[in-house]
């Protein structure tokens, strides 16, 4: 739970959990651009809640593979 921080030029460097959640899904489907990647990395470094969601999305992907390839 972190507040969005702003740089001098008022560009948002810290994304919200809501935005992070969208990027966490998007990165499962395509490589993120540099800016998004950095924003997400910074957010995850500071937000344990979103780190849990990252593990959840990754767990869902892995589970789908296991359901497909397991017996």
């Amino acid at each position: 739970m972190i507040e969005p921080a702003r740089t001098k030029d008022d560009g948002v460097v810290m994304i919200t959990c809501r935005q992070a959640s969208v990027l966490l899904s998007k990165r499962e489907d395509m490589p993120l651009g540099r800016a998004d990647r950095l924003k997400l990395k910074l957010h995850l470094a500071l937000c344990s809640l979103c780190r849990n969601v990252a593990r959840q999305f990754a767990g869902i992907r892995l589970a789908m593979r296991r359901l497909r390839d397991g017996d």
């Binding site: 969005p4 998007k26 959840q56 999305f57 869902i60 992907r61 593979r65 497909r68």
Partner: protein, 194 residues
């Protein structure tokens, strides 16, 4: 047409030995046992008829999966034409209750073990299967094509006639709905289950 066949011709039994696998993935996508059976039988027959075009570059399973996927995509396109997708709300507004006004989690995600650790538990895999079955049909169709058939964003756009952002929104919805469903115990570490 294939002029050189470098591998022995495929016999029907070899093709049919992949039936169980094809049924498993067809069921996930179609949610209809009879439809899945019919389609898988067609795929095996079609593959047998066109066995000369199998070059052995991909594995047999991959080749059969592609044939099945093409069948499924044809069917979905037909179904979706008759009943188009609901227009998308702008910016994922349907998940508003998950976040407060400043974009923080309103419903706190629970502590979650590493993916590999999660997937060691049959209970987790079972919960994922159950939650996928509960997804709205269209969303599940896109999600299973992505995660089980391995279609990428570009293929999904082309195959289903969706825009890129539309595909992302469908997949995002699927993942969020799944994690909400799994929050009801699915993510619990093993020691919390007992």
């Amino acid at each position: 047409m294939a002029k050189t066949v470098a591998h022995p011709p495929l016999d029907f039994e070899v093709l049919a030995s992949h039936r169980a696998y094809l049924m498993k993935i067809a069921r996930l996508e179609l949610r209809d046992e009879h439809l899945a059976e019919d389609m898988v039988s067609d795929v095996i027959t079609q593959a047998y008829e066109h066995r000369a075009s199998f070059r052995g570059e991909a594995s047999l399973r991959t080749w059969l999966t592609t044939i099945l996927k093409n069948r499924i995509v044809d069917l979905l396109r037909k179904q979706w034409r008759e009943q188009p997708l609901d227009p998308l709300p702008a910016d994922n507004d349907d998940f508003d209750p998950l976040f407060d006004n400043s974009g923080h989690w309103a419903q706190i995600p629970s502590d979650t073990p590493d993916p590999a650790q999660l997937c060691e538990q049959d209970a987790f895999l079972g919960a994922v299967r159950m939650c996928v079955e509960k997804l709205p049909k269209r969303i599940a169709q896109v999600f299973v094509l992505r995660e089980v058939f391995g279609s990428d964003t570009k293929e999904l756009c082309k195959d289903l006639g969706l825009t890129t952002s539309n595909v992302w929104v469908q997949l995002y919805r699927a993942r969020v709905m799944l994690r909400m469903c799994l929050e009801k115990g699915g993510f619990a570490p093993p020691e919390a289950r007992a």
